[in-house]
Subunit: 200 residues, 2 copies
DNA sequence: GTCTATACGGAGATAGAC
DNA sequence: GTCTATCTCCGTATAGAC
């Protein structure tokens, strides 16, 4: 295991990355200044520009780590020997901090993301997640757990959107339960679809 | 009709508001500088601070207009004499510019929104929309167009989240069709639920 | 009401000592 | 490698002339 996990321990490079990951989550890219990262990490300005060419490169390195972590966690939730609907529920209903937002999706509206180097780690996460969710839905359809009128890819995108949009509802109303609530609504739809499957 | 609609026409106050509405949509609040607004509107700095105490107040006034416009448009799409599912479809599948994002929801992740004066117009829109979508879903359930295992509020929040999250998918992959795609997925779920209703 | 000129702080980065 | 001092530019706002 790596002992260099906290914001205040490990090499300067590691502390910068950990601080950047934290601040990118809490404030986003544009709102996070190099000074913020230095203050949180307890590192001097010289170290930052020694290890990274600039703010953008630090953010990219941080986001690559976040993307990998999130991908592993999400795919893990969607894996297992249990029925596909159960796996979907485990992913959809996993506890989320609605007020913080998705560590990756949170950045979607920043210009830097739209144009520059931050795009890749962000898109990678969404791509990997979409593939897996689509596969699980397809499996549910094939095994008769969901009606075959459901298009797997579109349905997967709808479910991913529920999660991302749920964060937005939580932020807008400053109510951490709304994200979970939206996911529960989507889960209710899936269950109703599963229930209806065995009728005819 | 009001002739003062464009960015380059009307009084200075109106031009400032129109420019601010445009830039808040395209860049968000934090990224938009007073100078940006002045350049786009063709107005001088003095006029801005004559009509508004500062950037925040200008943004709030602009967002109040956007919120009202969006509320009227959305509620209108959800109104009519046709069946509730048809109204839901009209709202869900209305054309959207995925790359631009929701003019209101786009701001959810900005700190200023979380803490300050911009909160009210944003929350107002989401509140009004949620009420209406919930009502239409409840009507669909009561009239037998959707199964009564669907909780109307949670389902409404899920559908609103699909729209908001769809914008995020579009932004992340820089593909304007993904937002529509996610909405289509949600619509497919609703239709499958409606279809299953008449079976037993 | 509208403009230009000016002020001040902080963002982002560099220089160079240690 | 890490630090402090320094630099430049821009975001935000004020002052005061017209």
């Amino acid at each position: 295991m790596k002992p260099e996990t906290g914001t205040q321990h490990g090499s300067s490079r590691r502390r910068l990355l950990n601080a950047a990951k934290d601040l990118l989550w809490r404030q986003g890219y544009e709102k996070t200044s190099p000074q913020d990262v230095l203050t949180l990490s307890g590192v001097g300005k010289g170290s930052l520009y020694h290890h990274f060419p600039g703010k953008l490169d630090l953010a990219r390195a941080a986001l690559e780590e976040v993307s990998a972590e999130l991908t592993e966690k999400s795919l893990s939730l969607l894996s297992g020997d249990d029925p596909p609907l159960e796996r979907l529920r485990r992913w959809l209903m996993t506890p989320r901090d609605g007020l913080m937002g998705c560590r990756i999706g949170r950045l979607a509206n920043e210009s830097a993301v739209f144009e520059a180097a931050l795009h890749d780690p962000i898109a990678d996460y969404f791509r990997a997640l979409e593939q897996r969710v689509t596969a699980v839905i397809a499996e549910a359809v094939e095994t008769g757990h969901l009606p075959d009128s459901l298009p797997p890819v579109e349905t997967a995108r709808a479910l991913m959107s529920v999660v991302q949009g749920g964060y937005i509802l939580s932020r807008v109303h400053q109510d951490p339960t709304l994200c979970t609530n939206a996911c529960r609504g989507a889960m209710a739809m899936l269950e109703a679809l599963a229930g209806s499957r065995s009728a005819p």
